[in-house]
């Protein structure tokens, strides 16, 4: 009896896994490597602190200007505000990036592309919702074309409110993300 239950449980687990993996089939060109025993073990030791130190100090973000906030995003990465001071640099390829910044309204047409960018990024990865549009729809909350409630689709770690937020606010958002990573409370890694 127990055995049967167990196998049934296993079966459903397998099916669930398949169902999970199935989601990635619509993203051609991506295969996932799951976390292995070593990294599971490391998570319980002090080594993870060192890893987190490295990760928090090297947050590379995708250049993904999507609206008004996108312009502030560009300004933040450039001289004057200079996120490079914190080791945060813009990368053009999602494959090299750690942080996805949703910098504006996500439309129904753009959502698949944004999801694909997110899937192309290697984990551990984090999301910053930059600006009111990404958080709640902003001034376009009632539009027929935008996709609301982006935080249900992406595991957002930091919300930066403002319409658009100033560059300082984005830097503050990055600092908050660093604090979260250091405290192991971020949603990018499973502890």
């Amino acid at each position: 009896m127990d055995e049967v239950e167990q196998t049934e449980a296993e079966q459903t687990e397998v099916e669930e896994n398949e169902a999970e993996n199935f989601g990635y089939d619509d993203v051609p060109g991506v295969t996932l490597t799951d976390s292995n025993a070593i990294s599971d073990f490391l998570k319980k030791t002090k080594v993870q602190d060192v890893l987190n130190w490295g990760r928090k100090n090297s947050l590379w973000f995708t250049v993904n200007a999507m609206g008004c906030c996108g312009v502030e995003l560009l300004s933040t990465g450039m001289a004057h505000y200079d996120t490079d001071r914190f080791g945060i640099i813009p990368r053009n390829s999602p494959r090299h990036a750690d942080v996805l910044i949703i910098s504006g309204y996500v439309t129904k047409k753009y959502l698949p592309a944004l999801k694909r960018v997110w899937d192309q990024m290697p984990s551990p990865k984090w999301v910053i919702a930059f600006g009111d549009c990404a958080i709640s729809g902003g001034p376009f909350y009632e539009s027929y074309s935008t996709h609301q409630n982006v935080d249900e689709i992406f595991p957002v770690d930091v919300f930066v409110p403002g319409c658009p937020p100033r560059c300082e606010a984005l830097i503050q958002g990055f600092v908050e993300l660093q604090k979260k990573i250091e405290a192991k409370k971020d949603r990018g890694t499973e502890y």
């Binding site: 709640s136 729809g137 009632e142 539009s143 027929y144 609301q148 409630n149």
Partner: protein, 158 residues
């Protein structure tokens, strides 16, 4: 070229197609055109009256009158007069000749009017959706009786 001469020349050339003309000010004139002959009128405007700049083309929906107006804003690089040319179409089956052969840049305007209002353009080279995702085609969101607005799905509203 001043506004009155333009109006006179236009209604002189197309007495049957141009009606309801109006001079609002020295630089703004208004005319309505029968939808069948819009291409000829546009060609005349471009070639003889130097209205070589199609500023814009869009639709306005009037459910009360059961009409969709297609408005052409035609101006010129040489003189400051802007002509508002209107073609009135039935709301159930709006169809009009495409002006792409005359004004090349009408291409996107017509595609957009098509997807937002459902105005069919005859002889348009590539009539498909421009800004909306494909699955939204057929909803005509900018018509006044569009049901999907306002969108009530937002949850995090402050």
């Amino acid at each position: 070229m001043d506004a009155n001469t333009i109006i006179d020349s236009l209604s002189g050339q197309f007495p049957d197609d141009i009606y309801d003309t109006d001079v609002e000010s020295g630089i703004r004139i208004l005319a309505k055109v029968k939808p069948e002959n819009v291409v000829e009128v546009c060609r005349y405007l471009k070639e003889d009256l130097s209205f070589d700049h199609l500023g814009c083309e869009f639709g306005v929906d009037y459910p009360d009158r059961n009409e969709i107006e297609v408005v052409y804003l035609i101006s010129s690089y040489d003189h400051p007069v802007v002509l508002t040319l209107k073609a009135i179409l039935p709301r159930d089956n709006p169809e009009i000749e495409s002006v792409v052969p005359v004004y090349w840049n009408a291409n996107w305007y017509e595609r957009e009017t098509y997807e937002l209002f459902g105005v069919k353009y005859i002889n348009h080279p590539d009539l498909r959706q421009l800004v909306l995702p494909e699955e939204m085609l057929g909803e005509w969101p900018l018509r006044k009786d569009y049901k999907g607005f306002p969108n009530k799905t937002a949850k995090n509203l402050v």
